[in-house]
Structure formats: structure tokens, C-alpha cells
Symmetry: C2
Subunit: 310 residues, 2 copies
């Protein structure tokens, strides 16, 4: 039988990545209720917000408030709270908020980086040094490498490109690396090629994977990564976010799909699926039609009868 | 690197499994147009209809007409046309129609078989002998084992149960076996356990897999099967069908997802993805909101920009 990790670490990114592209800001109170439900479900790692200018992303204007309130909900201090930061200003706010970790994004694709953060990759890497200067010792700095499995502008992303970015990031002081499939372009063979290269320089405990389900391949891709010993994965409750196009269309992989797959395979996740589905149901109630959860609602119904079918 | 088959055989089941649960019959002319588009896309195996009583499934009342017309479209005689048959009467009609293969369904779950076809499993198996009596030499009889990975009524389905059904089916004269995940309950570890048992008695060329995407795990499940040397898979264009609940909800795995995964991994399928997506677009035009194809429509658009996100 294929060997898989005994347990995996799932980070839910719904509160940041799931919400950030929504035009209408969600009230802070609703974010707090959602966070409570996700903590109750058992996630011990959650991305809560991004410390980005409210001019760019009004949805995240309440970031400091969200972190402060949610931290109080985690009475057992067992959850690792993460915030995304785009720059030094964001890092300052993240430090002040007391999050456990920050995610800083650089694209492997030069063109995507320029379009995304208006800087060259070299400028973005150089900024890690500035971030390090004010990083508290107990805080983790995760470098997320966007477009690790494909660039929307057609730039060729080889395993060597990814490996170079990983090595540069580590040299500049990133504590851990996250490979992100920003446009959902990965396939299982590509995942294997890229991870094979990266694992030569980085042990699995310092490596995370953030995959999108744009073409329905996220679970197959996560599975192959798990076969290679990767065990730290990001996903979004309800499959919310990750896609600036249509509401309800598939961008981020759904935490409930990922938790289902691993749990049913006998791999420990620490996340209770029924409670997670309650969190997803809550998202459905405040953001109707925005999740990919129709399947889950359906199979909780009565047994189905399929006439003469297989 | 993990070894995969060099090429896989994809059977599209949209015209039978995709349509059969729709209440309003699709005009024969539209079925023919769809068949033409699927042939044009490159499928060399297609399930066209079921020869079932029109009283049960009015949608399939034109089965003989569909087969006769579609066969003429396949000028190069390269497509294997399949029909589902529930009983001897269906087999007689299938033989008269000249399809290349028939699929006969028995559930591994006794209770599901009784609910599905109103017979015990033993009665269903015994009927294979009757079918064999009129089976032309050039026709293939495929036994589809429904509920091979889970029963909607809670009956325990172990790998041994599946293996017993496989052996019984072969003893009664089935030419090939298809394992069906009728309710989308499979996970990659279960797929591996069941296939490991079955492959001891049956080579991959006589084994097919028909998986549902109810919980988003179909691609991961197909992938694991391919890692074990399985290469004959069924799926439905647009993910149509396989679920009697909500339109557009996920039942059958989508042929375009499966073709994407294998093609992008460098595994030959013979199916052209762009042409397949044209067939799916046609389904969308005649059955709005019934497919799972929103993703594919989306990624054919302009490059996306994700602000400060990974």
C-alpha cells in the first residue's frame, strides 16, 4: 500500500483569501462568528486577514480588530494565526497585532509579480531583509511563491525556476516556503516534478502547499504531494475565494473536500468534518451562492436511488 | 517518478447516464448532435443509451433510433458503442441495435440491488446466463458492479465483497467488469485496497472504473487507479448525471476534468480537450445550469489578477 503521512496540518484561509475579493465588506461580527466555527471545527492553523491598505482591499480594513477578537476566542492557545502582508507597513501592523505567522507573497513569474505587487521579483526578495529586521523571534515568516505551477501571462515556470525562488527566499531569511498554484494550472505529474526538486533543499516541515481547484484537480494534486511526504496544506472553507471571476466558481480548494479525503483515508487532520460543514453552512447563509458546497449539502440528505444505473 | 499508463481509454457516458435522470426527454436530434460532437472530440468508446422500458425511463424511448443514427456518424468505425441493459428484454433490443458492448448492472450491496432492480443479487447474477445465450460473439458483456465503494443504505462493502462479486460475475460469463462508485463514497486509500484485491483475479484490460465526484474526490481516485495500472475509465461530459438530486450538483465525474488531468500529465487519451469543451458548451446550451463546467468556461477567459494574494 502507498505510504501517506499519519497526520496532516490543514490551514483554513477562508477569512483572508476567501473574503478578500468580495466587493462588499463582511461585517466584523460575521467574520468573528465564522472564525469561532472554524476554531470549533478543530483547525489549529488559520489565516485571518491581510494587513494591506484599506484603499486597496476595503474588505480587510478591520484586520487588527479581527485578530484581536479572534485571539481571545482561542482560549487554549492552540491555533496558529496567520496574516498576509504585502510590505513593511503590513509587517509592522502584523507585529503589533501579535499574529503567530505572516505570509509574504512573491511570484515565481516576474511578470505576475510586477502585475500583482508592482515590483520586480528582486525588489520583492530584497524586502524580506527589511521584514526580518522587525520580525519578533516567536513569529514565523512564510514566503508564498505564487505562480509556482503556472503563470497566467504565459511565462514558463520550470521546476528550476521554482527551486531558484525557494533558494533565494531561504537565503533572504524566509522561515518556511509555501508553493501556490495561483491559477490552478498544476497537474499531479507537475506537482511531483516540482516537489522532487524542492524537497532536496527543504524538509517537509518547512514547506506548505496552497492549491486551487480551478480545473477540478486540486485533490489529485494534494494527494500526490501527500504521497511524497508533504503534510502542510492550505485550503478555504466552502472553496471560497481564490478566483476574481464568478461567485461560486472554483478557485481555492475547499477545506471540506481536503478534510474529507484525508480523514476518510485514515489520515488525522484534527478537523471535525461535521463541524466544518456547519462553518460552511454559515458561509452559505451570509454569502449565498458563493461556496462550492452544494455537494456536501446534498449527500447529507436521504439515500439516493438511481434507476438501473451504475 | 511515479509510473502511469502511457495511454488511457475514456468512455463518455453522457448520452445515457448523463441524460437518464432528466425528467423532460431531450429530442433525438439533440442527442445526435451531442454524439457527433463527442465523436469529433475523439472518444473511441461511448455509452449511447439504455434499453430499458420507456415506462421507467421515457428519456431512453428513442434508444434504438439513437444507436442506428449515431453508428452512421462513425464513418471510420473506430468508436465502441455501448448500451446499458437491465434485463433479457433489453439485451434482445441491444443485440438488434448492433451495439458493440452492453453494460449490465448488479449491486455489490444486496439491499441496493433490490431497490435498484427489484431482484436479489443471486437472481441478477443468474440472469447473466440468459444474456449469454443471445450474446453475439463480437459483442462484449460488461458487468457493472454498483456500490463497489459504498452503499447508500449503510451496507458494509469490504474489498472481499467486491472481489466475490467480481468472481461470481466472471464465473457466470461476464467478459469484463466495471467497478462503480455509485454514491461517490470512495477515497484514494479505499480505491487502492479494492483494486489490489481485484487485480489478483482480473487483468487491467478487463477492468473499468466508473467514479462519481460527489465529494470532489473523483480525480484523486482515478489518479490512484492509474498509478495501479488501471487505464479504462468512464466519465460524463459536463459532469452530467449520476445524481438524482439537484441539477448541476456533482454526480458523475466530468469527462473534461479527467481528460484534462491525464492529457496535462502527458498521458494519451485520444480526446481533444478543446473539442470536448465544445461538446460541453452544447450541453450547456440545451440544458442550462445542468453541467459542472463553470470552471472551464472561466479559465478560457482573460488572465486573472489576484491582488496581493497567493
Amino acid at each position: 500500500m502507498t505510504v501517506y503521512p499519519e497526520c496532516v496540518e490543514l490551514t483554513d484561509v477562508c477569512l483572508r483569501d476567501g473574503l478578500q475579493n468580495l466587493e462588499t465588506p463582511i461585517p466584523t461580527e460575521e467574520k468573528i462568528v465564522l472564525a469561532e466555527k472554524l476554531i470549533e471545527a478543530g483547525f489549529n492553523s488559520m489565516e485571518l486577514c491581510s494587513f494591506v491598505s484599506p484603499k486597496w482591499i476595503p474588505q480587510m480594513a478591520d484586520a487588527a480588530n479581527v485578530v484581536e477578537t479572534v485571539k481571545k476566542l482561542d482560549k487554549a492557545h492552540k491555533v496558529r494565526f496567520i496574516a498576509l502582508i504585502p510590505n513593511l507597513k503590513g509587517m509592522e501592523r502584523a507585529v503589533a497585532s501579535g499574529v503567530d505567522a505572516v505570509t509574504y507573497v512573491i511570484s515565481v513569474s516576474e511578470r505576475h509579480n510586477i502585475n500583482n505587487v508592482n515590483r520586480s521579483c528582486a525588489e520583492s526578495f530584497a524586502q524580506i531583509k527589511e521584514l526580518k529586521k522587525i520580525q519578533p523571534q516567536e513569529m514565523t515568516l512564510c514566503l508564498a511563491l505564487a505562480t509556482s505551477f503556472g503563470c497566467p501571462y504565459g511565462e514558463n515556470i520550470s521546476p528550476e525556476c521554482v527551486l531558484n525562488a525557494v533558494r533565494t527566499g531561504l537565503e533572504f531569511g524566509a522561515d518556511e516556503i509555501m508553493l501556490a498554484d495561483t491559477i490552478g494550472a498544476a497537474n499531479p505529474a507537475m506537482i511531483e516534478r516540482v516537489l522532487e526538486a524542492v524537497l532536496k533543499f527543504l524538509p517537509p516541515d518547512r514547506l506548505k502547499l496552497h492549491l486551487h481547484d480551478t480545473r477540478g484537480l486540486a485533490m489529485a494534486n494534494y494527494l500526490v504531494a501527500a504521497q511524497m511526504g508533504i503534510y502542510r496544506f492550505e485550503a478555504s472553507a466552502g472553496g471560497l475565494g481564490g478566483c476574481p471571476y464568478a461567485p461560486g466558481a472554483t478557485g481555492n480548494a475547499a477545506s471540506e473536500d481536503l478534510n474529507c479525503m484525508f480523514t476518510e483515508m485514515g489520515i488525522k487532520t484534527g478537523v471535525n468534518q461535521e463541524k466544518l460543514l456547519k462553518a460552511v453552512a454559515y458561509i452559505d447563509s451570509i454569502l449565498p451562492g458563493c461556496t462550492t458546497s452544494s455537494n456536501w449539502k446534498r449527500i447529507s440528505g436521504a439515500p439516493m436511488r438511481i434507476s438501473c444505473g451504475a
